[in-house]
Structure formats: structure tokens, C-alpha cells
Symmetry: C2
Subunit: 209 residues, 2 copies
Amino acid sequence: MPVKILIFEDNTNLREGLCQLLMLRDEFEIVGNFGDAKQAREIVINCRPDVVLMDIDMPGINGVEAVKQIREYDLTTQIIMLTVFDDNSHVFDALMAGANGYLLKRNVSDRLVLAIQEVLEGGAPMSPSIARLVIDQLHVQKPANKYMLSEREKEILRSLSKGNSFKLIAAELGISFETVRTHIKRIYDKLHVHSQGEAISKALHEKLV
Amino acid sequence: MPVKILIFEDNTNLREGLCQLLMLRDEFEIVGNFGDAKQAREIVINCRPDVVLMDIDMPGINGVEAVKQIREYDLTTQIIMLTVFDDNSHVFDALMAGANGYLLKRNVSDRLVLAIQEVLEGGAPMSPSIARLVIDQLHVQKPANKYMLSEREKEILRSLSKGNSFKLIAAELGISFETVRTHIKRIYDKLHVHSQGEAISKALHEKLV
DNA sequence: TTTAATATCCCCCTATTATGGTATTGATGG
DNA sequence: CCATCAATACCATAATAGGGGGATATTAAA
């Protein structure tokens, strides 16, 4: 049973190129190819493809929007985004919308077939430069101890950020309530905040804990 | 000028296999190979490799720790992790620690050379199943309104999670202090919490806001 | 050896938050 | 028309948190 592929790509040459490339192989069957994504959701529902190749930059409705619409009804079809740009403007939007892979067009010729196999096996094929963007996002530079908190203070902030009251923190660490308060005061000084809420917010957002 | 490669891998067979594989190509030069990562930082500082291949599971000091140590002094050397496991236990630790790529050992034979080229070009080579883990992390399924918060309640929780006091929230939203308190009560009910700290923690961790 | 930093504890007083009520308004759907 | 929900508002009381002190002990650095 061949893998059913559906293509959305406004550039006619590329679209036909993709079809040619994939039709060379028996294991793929192109169940449709379209120059815009206006009816993407309906088309997907009707065609029931295994894999969708979706250009990001299309007139009318763009690829990211189309993915969102498809994902309202269908969470299993694998979607690979195709784009010429590797700036991060659309990468995250697309991945958040529910895309499973992200290929740069310059990598299509050597990686597309592999990429299709990979999504079907539950992988997430990405051009390496895209993967780097994603990882960089994860890397969120943790400016080691920007606020010069001591180990104990970090411990207390960690506990506070779990939602624990002073009383609980004291019990958890086996110290007195008053000691917890003293630590908290110094933590607030160092973080330049004046309340639990600000402290927790800062701790979690800046990944201090 | 050849690309200088440094290898840390405790399995002798694999380590020598990697050396053999890479020495077949003129563009690579193995500047060292080690069965453990105890001196990883010093070795990297001395050898100044372009690319480090780092096994995750090693006796003594593991690969993730080694990466952390290297990254204390060196942010530019490209590091590719090698592992047999594609569970997510170590993936994020390694990427957070500063690894640039993540290859499963079963993908080494067909992807290693490509992966090395890719990190050097600023990419982040990953086995597709690893990439999928990373993307899944991004996808953070926001179980749309798991707690049935109303729009207004979400607004208030959002403001609270920025560290604002009830008074500030009231001012920001142009409603009375007492109204804020009423909303907060209902939010706590719905989230099953009993304090600001717990609410903020839950809101931020489960990305409710 | 003095100093500095850290961790520990206590007191007083005020401010804010938590919990329990009650109540009015407007919109929405049977 | 009535029930329901969301949003608004108020009161009283108890609990927790915040800001200002001051104090001792340990450890590490100067």
C-alpha cells in the first residue's frame, strides 16, 4: 500500500518537480497537488493523505494557517513544511501549529524522500539549520547566578516557586520559620522584588531555579 | 586544513570504529580519543578540536557532565552527543548543557559524516526521533482550558503571574479590589490551589497563561 | 586576626492575602 | 419568564507575608 502524499505549493515548477521526484518511487502516491491552501482542511479530510507537504509562503492563506486549520480536525496526518527561509520568523509558528517536520527547499532534493520516511516512523525531519534554531530556543542562556544567590537561597526560591508557604519551606528544609523569612528577605533584595508573586515569576521566567 | 575531531567513548570497539570511519576521509583528523571523560575539559582546552563526539553513557563522569564542564570555558567547539537511547531522560539535559547535536548510535554509520559537516555549518544534526522529542517539548499541549477558566479569570491569572498584587491587578483592569479578590477565589477553586504561590506555579508550569 | 559572607534565629508592626459569606447586574438559553 | 453563569462589589475575620530591627555561629578570604 503506497504512502499517500498531498502537496500544497504555489510555485508551479517546484510543485511539479516534487510530483516528478516522488512519482519516481513506487512507494509514494500523489493524491493531490494544489497551488494554494484555501481548501486545505477539506482537501485533507477528503484525501486522507499520510503525509502533507506544505509550502509556508503562499498567496491567500499561508502554510502556517493551513496547518492550524488541518490540526483542528486531524492530529495524525504528518505535515512537513517547506520553505526557502531559515530565519526563525515562521519556524516556531509552524511547529507550534502542529507541523511535524521542517525542510528548507534547498535541502529538498537530497532529503525529501528520507524526510517522508522519517515522519512516518515518528521522527521529526528538519534541516540542520532549522534544528539549530529550535535548540537555540531551548538553550535559553541561563546567566549563571546573575543575582548572586547563595545555594541555600536558591533552594528556598526553588521551594517557594513550587508554591510552598514559608511554613512548608521551613518544614521541608528543617529550619525555623523565621530563618525562612530572613532568607526570603535577602532573596527579594537580590532579585529586586517586593513580593512572592514577583519572585516566583522572575524565578520561573528566568529559569533561576 | 583538516577538521579536528576529538572522541570520548568508553566502548573500545565503537571508539576505534569511529576513528576508522573518520580516518577514511582526508578532511578529518582525529586529535584524540578517550575511553572516559574525566579530563574532558583539559583535553579540549589543549587539543582545541573543531568537533567533539561525546558518548552519553560512560563510567565515572558521564557525557552530560563533561559537556557542562567544557562549556564553562569553551562555547565555540561543536559537540555532538552519541547515545543508544532515544528516551528523553538525557536528551534535554545534554542540549541544555550545551550540546549542538544528538545522534543515536544506530544512525552513526549513515549520518555521522553528514552530522559533522552540519554542525560546522551551524546546523544541529539530530536523529529524527530525537528531533521529535524536542518538538514535542515545544508543542506543550495546552489542554485548552483544562480548568474551565473564564476569559476574565485567565486575564487575572495572567496579571497575577506577572507578580502583580491584587491592588495592581484591580488598577490594571479598571475594576475594584474586591472584584479581583472574588475572581481570585474562583480561580483558586478551579485550579484546586490555596495560595498565590501555588496558582502562579501552576499557571506558569502548565502554561495556562 | 579582622573582615565578609552565609546561615541560623527572634521580635515588632503593618500590609496583603485567604476564606467564608451575601448581593446586584447583564447576557444567554430553555 | 426563569435558571444559570459571568462579572461586578462589599464585609468580617484569620492567616500569611513584608519591612524594619538585632543577634549568634561558622567559614572563608584578606
